[in-house]
């Protein structure tokens, strides 16, 4: 359980900040020092809008330690509108409604807790996009 590790990741976890390459224009999440497309080191922060579609999904019944209380929960690969795929849980959704192609939007939720009195880690999850919500 590392407070420092989770603190370091807050820009990614709370605000979906990745990078944009000044040379090829590619946008990537998470942050990297080297552009994965053109290998340039001229990269700057880019905040993703948090909207996308479900690329794939799975329902987890056998959880790793620390997540047993959430079973069954849905994990997904979400394709952000800007292009990158991110791994995240889906939330506020009926398992039977989850499907590939479903439009989703980022929300901030509890990811896990380290013991009853321990650190609570928050970060991004995705919920079905609410209609007429803009």
């Amino acid at each position: 359980m590392s407070l420092a590790k989770h603190w370091r990741l807050q820009r990614q976890r709370y605000r979906l900040i990745g990078v944009e390459c000044e040379d090829c224009g590619g946008r990537f999440f998470p942050h990297r020092q080297i552009c994965p497309q053109c290998k340039s080191t001229r990269v700057g922060p880019y905040q993703f809008e948090g909207e996308g579609k479900v690329y794939s999904h799975t329902v987890i019944y056998d959880a790793p330690a620390g997540y047993e209380q959430f079973v069954p929960y849905v994990a997904a690969l979400v394709q952000l509108d800007e292009g990158p795929l991110v791994t995240a849980q889906l939330t506020d959704v009926d398992i039977s409604d989850v499907c590939i192609g479903m439009p989703v939007e980022m929300v901030t939720r509890r990811l896990r807790q380290y013991g009853e009195d321990g650190l609570i880690v928050y970060g991004y999850k995705f919920r079905p996009k609410l209609k007429g919500d803009h």
Binding site: K5, L9, Q12, P30, P36, Y55, S56, H57, T58, V59, I60, Y61, D62, A63, P64, A65, G66, Y67, E68, F70, Y73, A75, A76, L77, P84, L85, V86, T87, A88, Q89, I100, L111, R112, V121, G123
Partner: protein, 379 residues
């Protein structure tokens, strides 16, 4: 560059070895292999292991094993590449002998992973993924493969039951392997009724967690029913599934296989038997595609058409594979080589395939490291 031969093999049964620790298992397999090779010392030992620290609180494993195997002070190093650790250790042993720097090398794969609860073991296994951007979301390794299988079924219009033959074939072959964990055939009904672990992956899509150790002795001389390693290649891909160029294509496995084929001077048509990293049925299908045995989306059809069976066009998991023989995570890559050697020597018993060239592929995590070896009966 010198030729590299496997001149001895040893293995323990794959099971829940309640009464044996990692060092016990490793040492047994080492002594068996050394006796078979007719040696009482070696120049080095490379130990493939993924999770000794996480699961047993023991790092520094190679020095420990060299000590307890009575190898008295030799070069001993642990090699780790998640579930590809066994293959990775073979690779390092190969480099040592091929380079001319070592003459006789022991390569041991060992994993002791049944002491902890299932959630604790699952937690350890996700150290193979991206801690910051995959594991934190509660993904298990099974779930990552579930994401792959779900998307694959969607893109190629398949059902879960279309994957059944991967597991059925593995279990059929394991029946005749006395070292295998599961020696009971599986039916299509068993497969269809299996419990979901991470939908659409069921218990019977998944290779079992288990304990075991396998050892090979590498040397530069063609002695003692030696089998030659004619190709050895490692490639990597992004650690996280979400960063893959195409998540459904194992680019690392493809590159590793291509380099191995080039080194061996062959193509996929030249391979008689294949030991893939069948940790999950979807991984077996994607491996067949990445290595050029089937085009994209057609890997499952090879299984459905019976081409992966012992009498098929490309027999896989000939002694049970990860699914039937079992998957002590860091050891599996060495078990694959042991089994290829048995086949190529003609020692595979009821599972014997008429073969001269065999390929083994050991994969770390969801595909970030792939180690490929090609073995051949010497001329």
């Amino acid at each position: 560059m010198r030729k590299v031969y496997v001149v001895g093999i040893g293995q323990t049964k794959v099971k829940e070895h309640w009464e044996r620790s990692a060092r016990d298992l490793a040492v047994s397999s080492i002594l068996e292999a050394m006796e078979q090779a007719g040696i009482d010392k070696a120049d080095a030992i490379y130990v493939g292991n993924a999770l000794s620290g996480e699961l047993t609180g023991q790092e520094h494993l190679a020095a420990l094993i060299a000590d307890f195997a009575g190898l008295g002070g030799i070069e001993a190093l642990k090699v780790e590449a998640a579930s590809g650790s066994g293959g990775a250790a073979v690779r390092i042993g190969y480099l040592a002998v091929a380079s001319g720097l070592q003459d006789v090398v022991i390569v041991t794969g060992v994993e002791k992973m049944t002491d902890l609860s299932a959630p604790a073991t699952a937690e350890a296994l996700v150290t193979a993924t991206d801690d910051h951007y995959e594991a934190i979301h509660g993904l298990s390794l099974v779930a990552l493969n579930g994401l792959l299988m779900q998307r694959y079924m969607y893109e190629y219009d398949l059902d879960r039951k279309d994957f059944a033959q991967f597991s059925i074939n593995a279990h059929n072959n394991a029946v005749n392997n006395k070292y295998a964990m599961f020696r009971r055939p599986m039916t299509v009904e068993d497969f269809e009724n299996a419990r979901m672990v991470a939908d659409p992956i069921s218990l019977l899509d998944s290779a079992p967690v288990a304990d075991g150790a396998a050892t090979i002795i590498l040397g530069s001389q063609n002695v003692n029913s030696a089998v030659e390693i004619i190709a050895s290649a490692v490639a990597t891909d992004t650690i996280a599934l979400h960063d893959r160029r195409n998540p459904l294509f194992l680019q690392g496995a493809c590159e590793s296989a291509q380099r191995a084929y080039a080194q061996a001077g062959i193509g996929p048509d030249g391979i008689d038997i294949f030991e893939p990293h069948d940790a999950f049925t979807i991984m077996a299908a994607l491996s067949l595609e990445a290595c050029g045995f089937a085009s994209e989306g057609e890997g499952v059809r090879l299984a459905m058409d019976g081409e992966i069976a012992l009498q098929g066009r490309i027999p896989i998991c000939t002694m049970g594979g990860l699914k039937g023989r079992g998957h002590p995570v860091g050891a599996s890559g060495v078990y694959q080589i042991v089994e290829l050697v048995q086949q190529l020597r003609g020692e595979a018993g009821a599972n014997q395939v008429d073969c001269r060239l065999g390929m083994a592929q050991s994969i770390g995590g969801s595909g970030a490291t792939t180690v490929t070896h090609v073995l051949k009966v010497p001329d």
